[in-house]
């Protein structure tokens, strides 16, 4: 069974508190409101580029896990596209012009393959999945590991905001990060038991459909979670830990109520500390929960995320 063999993430050096963000005019809501939703600070890049963080996360994952790089048959990249990936965060806005020139063909995915020395890895990039990008990458990797007999796939996601971009999306405080996940065709720990994704294209114009999206979030999330649990052969009560995406604590409390799981089973330590990354909250949180010893082998984990606009996705993982 496919499994999550390793996770490594990298944050930029900078942090900004919610109050600092509010003072800089980077929030729609007040600092007090976002604090009441569970946010305290976020990780903010300045000199780092999305690519630099992705490379660092991937390289450290490979070093930590000690695996043979030749055993990696697939690299799935998601996040900042060519043109934007190589610019430091402070220059991202001006680098946008690269996406409409020949520079767009300078792909971070292929460079990553080269820089990491993954000569045997085929390269695929996933895009347009918002905060579910890394889920999409893992899903593709899982499918190809099974379909093509690939032993190992490295999934990497990285994303950042330019300095003056607003940091609030649907009452969530967004942060910069990169995250790498190693998917293995056979593994004993963190086995992927089930995966479900629902995409509702009706909500493609997210800014115009904001109210409809707010309304659709919970019932669709509940549906995806129930379907994932059912596919795993579990009942909801079997879930030992919900490993969340770092959206507001309040929305998680509501969702836990809908799912009928006690809030104590939500591993929410990072919401205040890190904010909500586009790169892959759930996997960052899973790594931290494992490192903290919160999860014991055999426990049943549910990872759920939502990609702004149209994507609801979940994984059932047996630790």
């Amino acid at each position: 069974m496919t499994s999550i063999g390793a996770i490594r993430y990298e944050f930029p050096a900078g942090t900004q508190s919610v109050r600092e963000l509010a003072a800089a005019g980077l929030l729609e809501s007040s600092a007090e409101t976002l604090e009441s939703l569970g946010f305290a600070q976020i990780r903010v890049a300045c000199e780092e580029s999305p690519y630099a963080l992705a490379l660092r996360a991937s390289e450290r994952l490979l070093q930590e896990s000690g695996i043979d790089r030749e055993s990696i048959g697939l690299l799935v990249y998601g996040g900042a596209p060519g043109g934007l990936a190589f610019a430091p965060a402070r220059a991202l806005a001006s680098a946008a012009s690269d996406t409409v020139s020949a520079a767009r063909f300078r792909y971070p995915s292929t460079r990553l393959q080269y820089d990491l020395g993954l000569e045997r890895a085929a390269v695929i990039a996933v895009d347009q999945l918002a905060c579910t990008t890394l889920f999409g990458a893992v899903r593709v990797a899982r499918a190809l590991c099974i379909a093509e007999g690939i032993d190992r796939a490295l999934c990497v996601s990285t994303d950042m905001y330019p300095p003056l971009a607003g940091r609030e999306a649907l009452f969530n405080c967004t942060a910069d990060a990169a995250c790498a996940v190693l998917v293995e065709r056979e593994g004993q720990r963190n086995r992927i038991v089930a995966a479900r994704t629902v995409t509702k294209g009706y909500y493609w114009d997210a800014s115009a459909m904001r109210d409809e999206i707010v309304a659709s979030y919970f019932p669709t999330a509940l549906h995806v979670i129930n379907e994932t649990v059912r596919e795993a052969g579990w009942s909801v009560a079997d879930v030992d830990w919900v490993i969340p995406h770092n959206v507001s604590r309040r929305s998680w409390e509501i969702l836990m109520g809908l799912v009928a799981l006690p809030r104590a089973r939500l591993w929410a330590d990072n919401i205040a500390r890190d904010g909500h990354t586009l790169a892959g909250d759930n996997f960052i949180n899973l790594r931290d929960a494992l490192d903290a010893g919160a999860i014991t082998p055999g426990e049943r984990l549910l990872l759920f995320s939502y990609g702004y606009g149209a994507h609801w996705t979940a994984l059932a993982v047996e630790a």
Partner: protein, 363 residues
Amino acid sequence: MTAPRSILVTGATGLIGRRVVVSLLRRTDAPVVVLVRDPARWDGIARGLGLDATRVTAMRGDVTRPLRWDATAPSQHVGVPSLIVHSAGDIIFSRSLAEARQVNVEGTRNIVELARTFPSARLVHVSSAFAVGRRTGLITERDDAGGAGWVNTYEQSKHEAEMLVRSSGLEYMIARPSTVVCDDARGTVTQVNAVHRALRLYHAGLASMMPGTEDTPVDVIPADWLADAIARLSLTETCAGRTIHLCAGDGALPLGTLLDRTYALWARDTAWRRRGISRPSLSDLPTYELFERSVELVGDARIKRITRSLSHFVPQLAFPKRFDTAGARELLGEDAPPVSAYWDCMLEWLLRSNWSAALPEAA
């Protein structure tokens, strides 16, 4: 049955009251006096209903003010009423308690005082099945409500009015109707209410949560059955001192079934189905209230407005109850039509009418 001398009806311009008048005229030869704020408006309604003008007299009056029987105002041949059907009420769930009490409690008090001036008059008080508020389980027709709190001021004021009638010393009967959702079993809707507004929001994908469980009974009735039942009971003297549930009772539909039917019917429209609008999530009340508070904290104005409009009555679903209708069955010899008989027709009517041009998104 002794024929009434004459019958005074309040709320005759309303959806139910006007039908009660029609049914009374069909069932008795007694003259009917309607107490209305605007006789000209009533005249228009009466013409629309094709009523015999010689049998119905409009008396100008406002239940929120002290009332006095004016023998000179109605037609001279109309005697002092021996039967009063008090169906006037403020059914807006979002009223403040003071506003709701003005019509529902003080209005009833004024009718009680007026009735006391009539020799041996009987009062039929049209209350609400939901005057029992947050009570759950089987609600019998002996229950006098109260004690568990209320979801909205309408429920509370209806309960207070019942208490007032019970302690009035008058001969009374209390009719407790369920929620009216359509005119008749064909599903026609001529008066939109909170249920229709809520359905529209769910259809538009602008509302997504609902307290309750799959098994929560949803008890609703059509207006024509209700009005006819009120008229028949009003003319039945054995009802004295009784409370009668005019509800679907065992014909109520479980919430889960109702939602399945509703969304399946809406999904027949390919364009609607392609939107992928989900059936609302059912939750316990604390989770629903947390959602409401979250919307208040961070929601846009439109979502706030929508959520507030639902909060005035949707939480009633968190208090599942089944209404015992044994008394109504005994006296009427029939049950209300089961919800399953007309719910789909009503939905189709709402779609055909495009939710009615005048139906606001949230009120």
